[in-house]
């Protein structure tokens, strides 16, 4: 090549550039095969990408990011209002406003709608398009697949639940005239809202994925879930107030949107502004926790059983 270029330069001709394309043919893979854990991790990562619409068209990103934005916006507004109240009316005025313990009861319905819309994306499309068959002929089992998908959506829902709380905490501490003093007084709110976020997300994820596991159509699953959460609220509240007493307390337990909120209240040590009037909060803490576990673990077991039995 160098000789050609030199000769071309000496002769005054433009240099001739030559190249060769080599067909390297088929190369067998001789590297490491990382086994089942790599398979599970791949399905988990893919679940996160689906939930957030990554690697898909723009429309796939609209709904998940809209709801994450709404949740964050609520946290931001609460932080701004609390900061303003603190500056105008002092710490006593700020204490009267909704805070970490109240956030989940305010945002619960949005978290549930987020789960109702996004969870079917993770499951229905794979079954409807037949892609699930390609997973099941690999080292994964149906149980591995659903566990990885569940973990992926739990991660997203936990992040969506925590993000506004982190914004709220930062806003409250920065808005306080003595941020270090605020941190010293309220540091326990951090593990509380983290734990409560997991409680909310585990329930929303499991129930939403269970419903999505029984239909091929995402719209059916989403509408059914939203209806389930929205319709049970007025129905159970009306029945509970009509009947009253112990029976009313138990009827109010069937308000699906409130089931995790009883445990959230226990974590924060007091009922939130929105749950304090619900009859069920007067039931023993053990009953409320067992009720929550029943509504989370049983759907989880049914979900696992459903996928364990799947075969191409």
């Amino acid at each position: 090549m160098t000789t050609q270029l030199t000769a071309a330069a000496e002769s005054g001709q433009p240099p001739v550039r030559t190249g060769t394309v080599f067909d390297i043919g088929y190369r067998s893979y001789t590297g490491e095969r990382e086994g089942l854990n790599r398979s599970r991790l791949a399905v988990y990562k893919d679940g996160i990408r689906i939930a957030l619409g990554f690697g898909r068209g723009g429309r796939a990103k609209i709904l998940p990011w809209f709801f994450i934005g709404v949740l964050a916006f609520i946290g931001l507004i609460m932080a701004i209002v609390a900061g303003a109240a603190n500056r105008i009316g002092g710490p006593e005025a700020a204490e009267q406003l909704p805070s970490h313990g109240d956030y989940y009861s305010i945002a619960a319905i949005i978290i549930f709608i987020f789960a109702a819309i996004v969870a079917p994306e993770l499951l229905c499309r794979d079954r409807r398009e037949g892609t699930i068959n390609l997973y099941l002929v690999r080292p994964l089992t149906g149980g591995d697949y659903i566990a990885a998908r569940w973990a992926a959506f739990l991660t997203i829902t936990v992040a969506a639940a925590w993000l506004p709380q982190i914004i709220l905490f930062l806003g409250l501490s920065m808005g306080d005239p003595d941020p270090i003093g605020y941190l010293r007084l309220h540091w326990l709110d951090i593990p509380r809202f983290l734990a409560a976020g997991i409680v909310m997300a585990a329930y929303a994820t499991t129930v939403a994925m269970l419903v999505a596991a029984f239909t091929l159509r995402r719209a059916y699953a989403s509408v059914f879930l939203v209806g389930l959460f929205v319709i049970t609220t007025p129905f159970t509240i009306g029945m509970a107030s009509e009947i009253g007493g112990a029976a009313g307390e138990w009827i109010s337990m069937f308000n699906l949107a409130d089931i995790p909120l009883y445990v959230v209240d226990l974590i924060f040590g007091k009922p939130s502004m929105l749950t304090k009037d619900i009859p069920a909060v007067h039931l023993p803490a053990t009953t409320l926790i067992l009720w929550y576990l029943a509504w989370t673990l049983i759907p989880g077991a049914v979900l696992w059983w459903r996928y364990r039995r799947l075969s191409p």
Binding site: E32, L36, S39, D126, N133, L134, R138, P139
Partner: protein, 318 residues
């Protein structure tokens, strides 16, 4: 090829019943290195056999091993197997490059190698230029190539192809069969091709396993099937009856079929006899050609009441 000469796939008195329905009935065969066709009509038991080999279905009795292991008890062996299903199985929203990378990771490859393998596989299957387009916008032929690609992306030792030419036009079908041949001859991956199309199997496979009603009909080299199925077909413009009589006088029996005559036989003396009979009967010849027996006829032979089904078969180069 297994290092000790053992078969890649082995079925031993394999039986699968779904309630009262017997999908596989005591089937035994071995499959070695190469391209093997598994042939049968709908409901013959092809898909059940593949599912048992992949470990997705447990046999009622008998044993199936793949690469020396029982995939039902050891799902890890599936990391070295590929499967291309007959039906739709591709996500519409993602690109071929992203999908194959993901499938390679699901098969256990580290992410960096998965990306490289996906690009290489798409190049070999002829989709390199289109790899960043969403699969939903692909033609049927391109989707079949993606299906084949996902079965090969993790460099399996053995790949199951279930009706790979389904839905393809003649050109697409020929290209797909070329890819199947390339899969073994250039990539070194052994293939079990399931089909109900005799022509596909004849043109692509070295060996063949024929199932009918859950039972093994035949197993062996494709060449031996060709020999058995050769028949001479004669079509004349007139004088068909005098021709039959002239053939009969030469000891050649002819069966009327589709306006012509079918003559069983494959040696030169049959051709000489036909020539002489045509001259004697003054029958203007329109067509004389070897005729291959249709797949259905191969199965009809098994339905004959006095014929015993094949008990077992060893297929492939040991």
């Amino acid at each position: 090829m297994m290092p000790n000469g053992e078969p890649l796939l082995s079925a031993s008195t394999l039986t699968k019943r779904y309630g009262a329905v017997t999908a596989l009935d005591g089937v035994s065969f071995d499959i070695h290195d190469g391209i093997t066709g598994i042939l049968g009509e709908n409901g013959a038991g092809k898909s059940t056999a593949i599912k048992i080999f992949l470990g997705l279905v447990k046999p009622t009795s008998g044993e199936a091993t793949v690469l020396g292991r029982n995939a039902h008890e050891n799902a890890g062996v599936r990391a070295r197997l590929g499967y291309m299903p007959e039906h739709d199985c591709l996500p519409s929203q993602v690109s071929a490059a992203e999908f194959l990378t993901h499938m390679a990771e699901v098969s256990g490859l580290p992410p960096t190698f998965a990306r490289t393998r996906a690009a290489d596989t798409l190049r070999h299957t002829g989709l390199f230029e289109e790899r960043y387009r969403a699969i939903g916008g692909y033609s049927t032929g391109m989707k079949q190539r993606v299906k084949l690609g996902q079965a090969l992306v993790h460099d399996p030792a053995f790949v199951f192809l279930d009706e790979p030419t389904a839905g393809l036009d003649p050109i697409g079908r020929e290209e797909m069969l070329d890819l199947v041949r390339k899969t073994h001859r250039e990539f070194g991956i052994s293939v079990l091709l399931s089909s109900h199309l005799m022509a596909d199997v004849e043109r692509t496979c070295d060996r063949i396993v024929v199932l009918q009603g859950g039972r093994l009909v035949e197993a062996g080299d494709v060449g031996s099937f060709r020999k058995e199925t050769e028949t001479i077909f004669i079509e004349v413009d007139t004088n068909l009856d005098p021709l039959v009589a002239a053939l009969g006088r030469r000891g050649i029996s002819a069966t009327p079929d589709a306006g012509g005559l079918l003559i069983e036989g494959r040696d030169e003396s049959i051709y000489d006899g036909v020539r002489d009979a045509l001259v004697e009967a003054e029958a203007p010849l329109r067509r004389l050609a070897p005729r291959r027996r249709a797949l259905t006829e191969l199965f009809e032979r098994d339905r004959e009441p006095d014929r015993e089904p094949a008990g077992n078969g060893a297929v492939g180069a040991a």
